[in-house]
């Protein structure tokens, strides 16, 4: 498993960056935080493009930066996908791919060119000028170009930021399969929580130039002390579910989570398929008795693990265990008092809406 060691201090204007940690990189690691938290700067430092940071960067035991020594970007083997894409305008699509392929170290393993072109659906684009590509096409070319350089580490800086929703969804599929298909660890910068939930195996939370938490994505997303990061209302929990059956008449799909069943609008997935659900805290209501005569279909029984309140806010965040899976609910403090909720209370979680991540 790849390992990234950072011990960095940087002062850039009135912004200071301080990171001292070691990251086990496996699959996709999200670097998540609000705009201006230093994510992109950190990515540039790791790539070797930022000369203003002091400290240490090491990858798999190889020192990339230490004291005055700085390994130049072109020998690190860390390829950066820029938010503004940066294809070479004087080369066509095929030329851009060749540019990277010709400079890939022959000693390093890499995926087959045809395989890369096929998996990113570029067969029909190879002769096109880069100026004629749509945003999604350009970003796919950039990903293929990065892969052809045979990187040891793939750094992605908000690659979906400039795309519309439909293109985002399609590109997400491609990005999700990168580590598994090509065996390259990915460090993915984003400020969109849905991308984190969808893609990331591990997540690092960043704020004001510091890492404030890191761990499995599911654990990070349900942490109660981090509610303000994603503009407050978007915190939630991830659930791994399995497609159980389809009800064509009602246009519903039934999913199982542990021993519970959830209904969602019909999904185009075969029975047995694994899906990842994101349930936002504000979409979960709580009851102490099983409600009857209610329109909400999805009611799960669980136990309160923890309740967090903030003296200023009218809301409380409640963490609930449902057969080992965790849910978060955002309800008023008044409701907590009225329902006499404490850690250990038995509750029914009423889920108003579920976002499907895959």
């Amino acid at each position: 498993m790849a390992q990234l060691t950072l011990d960095l201090q940087a002062t850039l204007g009135d912004f200071s960056l301080q990171v001292d940690d070691q990251l086990q990189m496996d699959g996709i690691t999200a670097l998540f935080g609000p705009s201006g938290s230093g994510k992109s700067t950190l990515l540039r430092i790791i790539a070797g493009l930022e000369t203003r940071a002091t400290g240490k960067v090491a990858f798999n035991g190889e020192t990339w930066q230490h004291a005055r020594m700085r390994v130049p970007a072109h020998v690190r083997g860390a390829t950066l996908l820029f938010q503004d894409v940066r294809l070479f305008p004087h080369l066509d699509v095929g030329g851009n791919l060749d540019y990277a392929a010709r400079r890939a170290p022959p000693s390093r393993d890499g995926a087959d060119r045809h395989d890369i072109i096929r998996s990113l659906e570029l067969d029909n684009l190879l002769d096109r000028r880069t100026q004629t590509l749509s945003g999604g096409e350009a970003q796919r070319v950039a990903i293929a170009r990065a892969l052809l350089a045979r990187p040891r580490l793939l750094l992605m800086d908000e690659p979906l930021a400039a795309l519309d929703l439909g293109r985002r969804a399609r590109l997400l599929d491609r990005i999700e399969e990168l580590p598994r298909r090509f065996g390259i660890p990915v460090l993915y910068v984003t400020h969109a929580i849905d991308e984190v939930a969808r893609l990331a195996d591990h997540t690092v939370l960043m704020q004001s130039g510091r890492w404030i938490a890191r761990g499995d994505t599911a654990d990070i997303l349900e942490r109660l002390d981090l509610p303000d990061l994603a503009a407050g209302s978007d915190t939630g929990a991830l659930l791994n579910a399995t497609v159980a059956s389809h009800d064509d008449a009602l246009a519903l799909t039934r999913l199982t989570v542990g021993s519970w069943t959830l209904s969602v609008p019909a999904l185009n997935r075969p029975a047995g398929a694994e899906v990842r659900l994101r349930v936002r805290a504000r979409d979960v209501a709580l009851a102490t008795e099983r409600p009857s005569a209610i329109s909400i279909r999805n009611v799960l029984e669980g136990r309160v693990l923890e309740i967090t309140t903030d003296g200023q806010s009218p809301y409380a965040e409640v963490l609930i265990d449902v057969d080992g899976s965790h849910l978060r609910a955002r309800i008023t403090r008044a409701s907590v008092a009225e329902l006499a909720l404490v850690a250990g209370s038995r509750v029914y979680a009423l889920i108003k809406s579920i976002a499907l991540d895959s």
Partner: protein, 222 residues
Amino acid sequence: MDFTPIWLTLRLAGLTTAILLVFGTPLAWWLAHSRARAAPAVEALTALPLVLPPTVLGFYLLLLFNPQAGFGAFWLELTGQTLSFSFSGLVVASVLYSLPFVVQPLQTAFQMQGRGPLEAAATLGATPLDAFFTVASPLALRGYLSAAVLGFAHTVGEFGVVLMVGGNIPGRTQVISIAIYEEVETLNYAQAHQWSAILLVFSFLTLLLVYGLNRRSAPRVG
């Protein structure tokens, strides 16, 4: 009709342009990317020939070329020839005089592309020199065309500096602009007409080429 002045002019302009493209490129690159405190001073020095009367430059060059002392003596020692009133001296003078016309279009071209393409090339494994030749230079192609055309044309059109450091020696330093001056002085208007018409048409076609290129490729940049 004696074509020697034309041949001499083309040789001078061609050589000057070639030298300027080679040495102007690193200078333009440095000016485009440097954050050094000396950069504005170097930029101002580079632009001086744009505003100085050619006689001022010619005067200082004559002092520099003086075979009795300093650089002029060193050159005489090295080559056995003086720089003043020689073709070599004209080349040195023209390089200085046309410097801004080559450096400024290149500097603008490098500045416009920014660091982005080079950073992308670096993370794909290209060394800085590799990235310069395979990414920065092709992207600055239009700048190179402008620089070459303007440098060449401006050298063809120079008069004052040439007259001061080169004099008027047929076959050695008598370029076309000097030849015209000579013909007018000796009231040989027919020959003056011919030379002038040639220069006029050449200059117009040159500028037409530069502006045509700028207009045609402008929307593609970026």
